[in-house]
């Protein structure tokens, strides 16, 4: 009986961990390519959720059907953010960079509140309350769909970076942008691409979450710290590292919350983060 | 003469790469020793080991008869080992004078005393007219002399100078050579990494040659300039 509960908890942790991984993949890519910490990353996710919500409530289109549209919009938003703000602070002191992205975080929350009110919204679609029973374990259907979707999206990013020419160029810029520039890879475009993909990844995560997680202007706050933790554990800049670290963090959070009480979830995850950072500053799976 | 620095069987590996291997040599008090070798021979790595920036993988370093292997760089400075950096590292938000005061504070934390000694060191290095400028506004040659003044202000017994003549004009090289001789007259020993042969040959009491991380020759400048192994290493560069 307890074994079953443990397994149930474990798998729930894996499912939410897959979402964390996807959010972190975008963050780690931005960090890896241009060494900037994006505090507004959770707000990309928030916009993804709202995109799903409005397309659903105005046109009755399912979030999964409108996913490509949301991805495009978020990709464009990433490019715009890069062009308007990030491009101008590439060589600024780290403190200015932190505050530029922090300012964007507040700005996006403010805009969401301005246009869409601070209310909690939810999407009730055909599978929102669906359940899957498998070998005596119970799962929500939207959570399963989100988990599978997150695997596919993370896999797509991994494939892009490791199997395409453009991805290789991005990776080269991350390794050494000056050397890459000498080889004819325009750093600026790669930076913009990283922001586009980063925002799109967070947007996909938002879409996947939208059918079982409340939608509100500050929803990003629930994910940004976790995403930082996942990025650090996985090694700054590593996509596959973020994937495994996301799962680990999800499991630690859910199992730790189960054992010590849900109010300690965040403290447990952050303690793990500190521990790893201090023992292995390059991350759990980062290169030395 | 007394033995100031004794390096024995020193080795430093980075992963699979042996940047230094089985290097042994001695340096007497007040001596100028030149350290030469092709690019990537391991000269800067050796400096970093002696100055406490790298933990040697093997071997020992003795300074004034004391085993100092693996001491931290701040401790090395306290013991009397000062260094300059191949790529200059001046404190950008401080003036030239304040840069050198930071060095002078090692022996006396009083700001007034540090100022006096910093002024003396700057005067000695020919930067007396530059004290109010920020370091980034100096010429390359001046920045090198600033590093030198800063190191001298710590009142070292041994100075490690990493390519302080690189990129200087012939007349600037001449001034630098003159300065190093003056430093020697103050009883301070120098271990000098130098690519500019005209700079190091005339002033070195002793020369050490590295290639692929190993010591391949040692002797007076005259001996070194005739050594076939050294010629081969340089011609093969």
């Amino acid at each position: 009986m307890t074994g079953e509960i443990l397994l149930q908890t474990l798998l729930s942790g894996v499912l939410i961990g897959l979402i964390y991984a996807l959010v972190a993949v975008g963050l780690t890519m931005i960090f890896g390519v241009m060494d900037i910490v994006n505090f507004a990353h959770g707000e990309f996710l928030m916009f993804g959720m709202y995109s799903s919500f409005w397309l659903f409530s105005l046109f009755a289109l399912d979030p999964l059907i409108t996913l490509p549209l949301t991805v495009l919009m978020l990709f464009a938003l990433g490019l715009v953010v890069y062009q308007l703000v990030i491009k101008r602070i590439i060589n600024a002191p780290p403190l200015s960079q932190i505050f530029a992205t922090f300012g964007m975080m507040i700005l996006f929350r403010g805009l969401a509140q301005f246009f869409w009110k601070p209310d909690f919204r939810t999407i009730e679609n055909s599978y929102s309350s669906g359940k899957v029973v498998f070998a005596g374990l119970h799962f929500g259907l939207p959570q399963i769909i989100a988990g599978v979707g997150a695997i596919l999206a993370t896999g797509a990013v991994w494939w892009f970076i490791n199997r395409t020419r453009l991805g290789a160029a991005l990776e080269a810029t991350a390794q050494d942008k000056d050397a890459a520039q000498l080889m004819g890879i325009p750093s600026q475009r790669m930076f913009a691409l990283a922001w586009g993909i980063g925002a799109a990844c967070a947007g996909v995560a938002g879409v996947l979450l939208s059918s079982f997680f409340p939608i509100f202007p500050e929803v990003g706050a629930n994910f940004i710290l976790i995403a930082f933790v996942v990025v650090a554990l996985g090694g700054f800049g590593s996509v596959s590292g973020a994937f495994w670290a996301g799962i680990i963090v999800g499991v630690v959070e859910v199992v730790g919350g189960f054992l010590l009480g849900p109010e300690y979830k965040m403290a447990i995850v952050l303690s793990l983060f500190l521990l790893v950072l201090l023992v292995r500053p390059q991350g759990l799976m980062g290169r030395a | 003469m007394s033995r100031l620095l004794v390096v024995e069987n020193l080795g430093k590996r980075f992963g699979g790469l042996a940047a230094n291997e089985a290097i042994s040599f001695e340096l007497q008090a007040g001596q100028i020793v030149g350290l030469i070798g092709p690019n990537g021979a391991g000269k800067t790595t050796l400096f970093n080991c002696i100055a406490g920036f790298y933990q040697p993988s093997e071997g020992t370093i003795h300074f004034l008869g004391k085993d100092i292997t693996g001491h931290a760089s701040a401790q090395m400075a306290h013991l009397g080992i000062a260094r300059t950096f191949q790529i200059v590292r001046s404190f950008g938000s401080l003036t030239v004078l304040e840069n050198v005061m930071v060095g002078a504070m090692l022996r006396n934390k009083g700001v007034g005393a540090a100022r006096e000694r910093a002024l003396a060191a700057l005067e000695f290095c020919g930067l007396a007219g530059r004290i109010a400028m920020t370091a980034s506004n100096l010429t390359v040659a001046e920045q090198r002399r600033l590093e030198l003044a800063r190191a001298l202000a710590t009142e070292p017994k041994l100075l490690l100078l990493d390519e302080i003549m690189a990129g200087l004009t012939p007349s600037e090289v001449h001034e630098a050579v003159h300065l190093i001789k003056e430093i020697q007259l103050r009883g301070i020993a120098c271990l000098i990494v130098e690519h500019v042969m005209e700079g190091i040959m005339p002033i070195a009491d002793h020369m050490i040659v590295l290639d692929y991380g190993r010591k391949i020759a040692e002797g007076t400048p005259a001996e070194i300039s005739r050594n076939p192994a050294v010629l081969a290493a340089y011609l093969g560069e």
Binding site: P94, S96, I98, G110, E263, M266, P281 | A77
Partner: protein
């Protein structure tokens, strides 16, 4: 010595500012306006404290609220359970906070740049979770400062904001004096050397860890004083108000806005930022439309992008522009 004239001008400016600061609350008598002035002084004070570590020594902490909270909780707990006056409790809070800071700094100072900043956020967030669930310190409900006899002995004032204003001003002046002394001593030189070029600093005999610990100990001490003061001013604390990461960010923000690593930068930054917050909140805040957030954020972004050296840097630029023709003529 040509430095003579600017010095007199500077001293005159300072004397004038001090005189205005002393008289201002006697002119501005509405309690809400007085409260606004108190907030300016309080955030200036914690900004100045933050600046010691984040500005001078260059270790960007985004978890300074931990020290603020420890100060607030220590003095309040001592007041509640031992009847110790908050004046003493404040000092105790400062010391507890310094010890905590050194214990945290010891391992965390091995981390560089963003990694250090993230670790400090994590520490503060963990502390918030622990305090929220720690019943002996009031848990999520928080603590009320006991309704003791009003007056200076207990730092409790119900009828007037004026005493709080002067206490905040006093704290700010003390913190500024401490900063000024640090700036002029070898510590000021060492901190800036560590910030600019850590390798060069250590080659000159500066133990990086030791002096970063000195910086965080001093910085956290003064931050904790601000926390204790806040507790007395509000007469109520809870983890949401004295341990929230947004407060950490604000301490850094007033400093970057004013000028990182300059003595009076945080004072200018706090004056501007607190005013902006207040004005936007009064004008748009009640609507719940987020307009105040949007304006606030837009200003942060513009400053970060276009004025990375803050108000102080901007003033210096202006002075240089006007000083040049004068020197020629």
């Amino acid at each position: 010595m040509t430095a003579h004239r600017p010095n007199t001008r500077r001293n005159a400016t300072l004397a004038l500012a001090l005189a205005v600061a002393c008289i201002l609350p006697l002119v501005v008598t509405s309690p809400s306006h007085q409260n606004f002035l108190i907030l300016i002084l309080m955030f200036a004070q914690v900004g100045v404290a933050w600046n010691i570590l984040g500005g001078y020594a260059g270790q960007v902490s985004l978890g300074h609220v931990a020290f603020f909270g420890i100060g607030a909780y220590t003095s309040t707990m001592l007041f509640i359970h031992a009847g110790i006056s908050p004046w003493l409790g404040m000092l105790a809070g400062g010391l507890v906070s310094s010890c905590f800071a050194v214990a945290i700094g010891w391992p965390c100072f091995r981390l560089k740049g963003h990694y250090f900043s993230m670790a400090t956020i994590a520490v503060a967030e963990i502390l918030q979770v622990l305090f929220t669930n720690w019943e002996s310190v009031g848990g999520a409900v928080g603590l009320n400062v006991p309704l003791a006899e009003q007056g200076w002995a207990n730092m409790v004032f119900n009828t007037s904001k004026l005493p709080y204003y002067y206490i905040a001003l006093g704290l700010l002046i003390v913190t500024l004096l401490a900063n000024w002394a640090i700036e002029r001593s070898f510590l000021g030189y060492y901190f800036r050397a560590i910030k600019d070029e850590p390798d060069a600093a250590s080659s000159l005999g500066i133990s990086l860890t030791r002096y970063k610990l000195v910086a965080i100990a001093i910085s956290s001490f003064f931050t904790a004083l601000g926390g204790s003061f806040y507790a007395q001013k509000e007469l109520y604390i809870d983890p949401g108000s004295v341990l929230s990461t947004s407060l950490s960010i604000k301490m850094a923000l007033v400093t970057i806005l004013g000028g990182v690593g300059s003595l009076f930068g945080p004072v200018l930054g706090s004056t501007l930022l607190t005013s902006i917050e207040e004005v936007t909140r009064q004008a748009f805040g009640g609507s719940g439309m987020g307009t105040d957030l949007i304006l606030y954020a837009a200003i942060i972004i513009v400053v970060a992008v276009y004025y990375p050296t803050g108000i102080v840097g901007w003033l210096r630029q202006i002075r240089r522009r006007y000083a040049k023709p004068e020197a020629r003529g």
